[in-house]
Symmetry: C2
Subunit: 330 residues, 2 copies
């Protein structure tokens, strides 16, 4: 039996975000589905970047944001993901390490550049994401060390990994290694379009392989192709040990067998940008679990983290999350 060295091992696409404000007319003009994540190729990335406004760059990636949040909250976290050995790749590696996450995946030395996500933030604070996967397509099973997975209490996987074929193999290998070592597997469904692309396989994952599921209302409704949140919640009950289902300003519902908790959203004075909300939600929740807290308190930690990150531009917390939790939870 390997000793546990990490509370959470995150595996995901390693991405640098480029955020800029945009009007709704910009989305219409460029045929962008508001709130979604679209995969784009290099040419489309050049075109959209040329059209979008002046931006700021910051490290992103769904699972990467989550482990960054876990580390910021005082948890032990590690990340596996593929950057290229270029300027944005060095920025990604610097930022995730600077926040306290162990990150040792070797960068690709040839091929596509580090992935970027062009994010348009509309005045209603919704983010619309356009991801050029770049070097993320180089991630493969060889990047997953089974001993590392065995040394991690929870292996957290993002649904987006299902898009690049090599990353999907890495996902499956990590899941198997966690199972073999009797560790937990957590999954974020990522995005309702992503669920659309991989529904049958995601259903199998949720029903047979995942212990802790994160999904928002749209994603869980899409997964089960039902027409209400309640129907989706009933469908997922019993499949996972824990499902944390988020509903934006309506708060979240946490389902664990017979246990059902309805947690109110944390109040936010002014919602600026929802980028990263779900990622930091998962960070708070998983850190709570690692600390041995009960589900309602895990849900509150999750909500407090999400409320912080939507109150400003960018996907990662701007304040000391650990101190914030202490203030809020008492």
């Amino acid at each position: 039996m390997v000793d546990i060295r990490y509370d959470v091992l995150g595996i995901g696409n390693a991405i640098v975000d480029v955020l800029a404000p945009a009007e709704d007319s910009f989305l219409a003009q460029h045929d962008l589905a508001k709130g979604g994540m679209m995969l784009i190729d290099a040419d489309r990335a050049d075109l959209l970047y040329g059209a979008m406004g002046s931006g700021t760059e910051s490290s992103g990636g769904s699972a990467a944001n989550t482990v960054a949040g876990v580390a910021a909250l005082g948890g032990r976290a590690c990340f596996v993901g593929k950057v290229c050995d270029d300027e944005l790749g060095r920025i990604f590696a610097h930022d995730i390490r600077a926040i306290g996450v162990d990150f040792h995946s070797p960068p690709a030395t040839s091929g596509a550049p580090t992935a970027r996500c062009l994010i348009m933030v509309t005045p209603d604070a919704m983010r619309t994401m356009n991801t050029f996967l770049g070097a993320c397509v180089e991630l493969g099973p060889e990047d997953v060390d089974e001993d590392l997975v065995a040394a991690s209490a929870i292996t957290y996987l993002e649904g987006y990994l299902w898009d690049p074929p090599g990353a999907k193999e890495a996902f499956i290998k990590a899941m198997g290694a966690a199972r073999a070592a009797d560790r937990k597997v957590a999954l974020s469904l990522s995005d309702s379009f992503c669920v659309d692309r991989h529904r049958e396989e995601f259903l199998d994952l949720v029903e047979h392989h995942v212990d802790i599921l994160f999904a928002n209302e749209e994603e869980i409704i899409s997964l089960y192709e039902v027409d209400s949140f309640d129907a989706a919640m009933q469908a997922v009950r019993g499949h996972c040990e824990i499902a944390a289902l988020t509903r934006s300003e309506k708060g979240a519902v946490i389902v664990a067998g017979d246990e059902v908790h309805v947690i109110d959203a944390e109040p936010v004075a002014h919602v600026v940008d929802t980028t990263g909300a779900g990622d930091v939600y998962a960070a708070g929740f998983l850190t709570g679990l690692a600390e041995g807290r009960g589900l309602p308190e895990c849900g509150r930690m999750a909500g407090i983290g999400a409320a912080e990150v939507i109150s400003h531009m960018g996907a990662r917390a701007e304040v000391d999350l650990k101190a914030l939790m202490k203030t809020k939870l008492g």
Copy 2:
């Protein structure tokens, strides 16, 4: 006589900012003089970057920030500066163009990478800057088109250009071209350490070549080596057509021959990061001049712009500056 196509032509170091919060102890540990701008080499940049926290990247550069502000305010602006043909260089070019500034300086295709400024923002909102000039050392007189200068009502130069030798030659050529075409020359003294490095030459510039001078209290005191703001103000009177002297929360004093205006600072609810304050101040002031406004109103526009930029992280405005001016000035 060439027709005027630009209200302001800015010439400066083309820099991408890397901003991260830092404690005062970090400054002490790394021997950084709070509030200043230090020039660093590539090794020192690597060392400091490795030690600093997770950051965000955004386009910066003093004169570049100013012309970005002029364009955001509706003025016609152009920028001359040197990036490398790399990822950060493309980000710089994208951002300045996206905001409406004409920027056609060809990037360097070899040599050092695009310049970056590692900026530590302490809890008191002060920024401490560490600049690796990178490709900026490639700027030279060949990058200054005399017709472009002649087509610009005001050529705005940053004192920082005096650091790389080629840029200094570009500065002198631009100043001569503006003179020859009977256009105005504006200068920002940039930084009190920069004034220390080049005092004799800056004195000559201010006394003989500059029409519009921007300086903060420390810089103008350093220039004249006096011990009070008033003494510095008396010293500069008569040398420039206009001197706009900024004093942070004490507001600004504008001196123009016999005219002296004392303009109060705009109130700011919470000062977050002073990066770019002086640059956007100059943008508001120069745009006011271009619009034919009186000096007190130019001073108010300047102060309103500065107040916006210090209320958040980063050197460029986050709101629609033109709309903000309309609301504030009525």
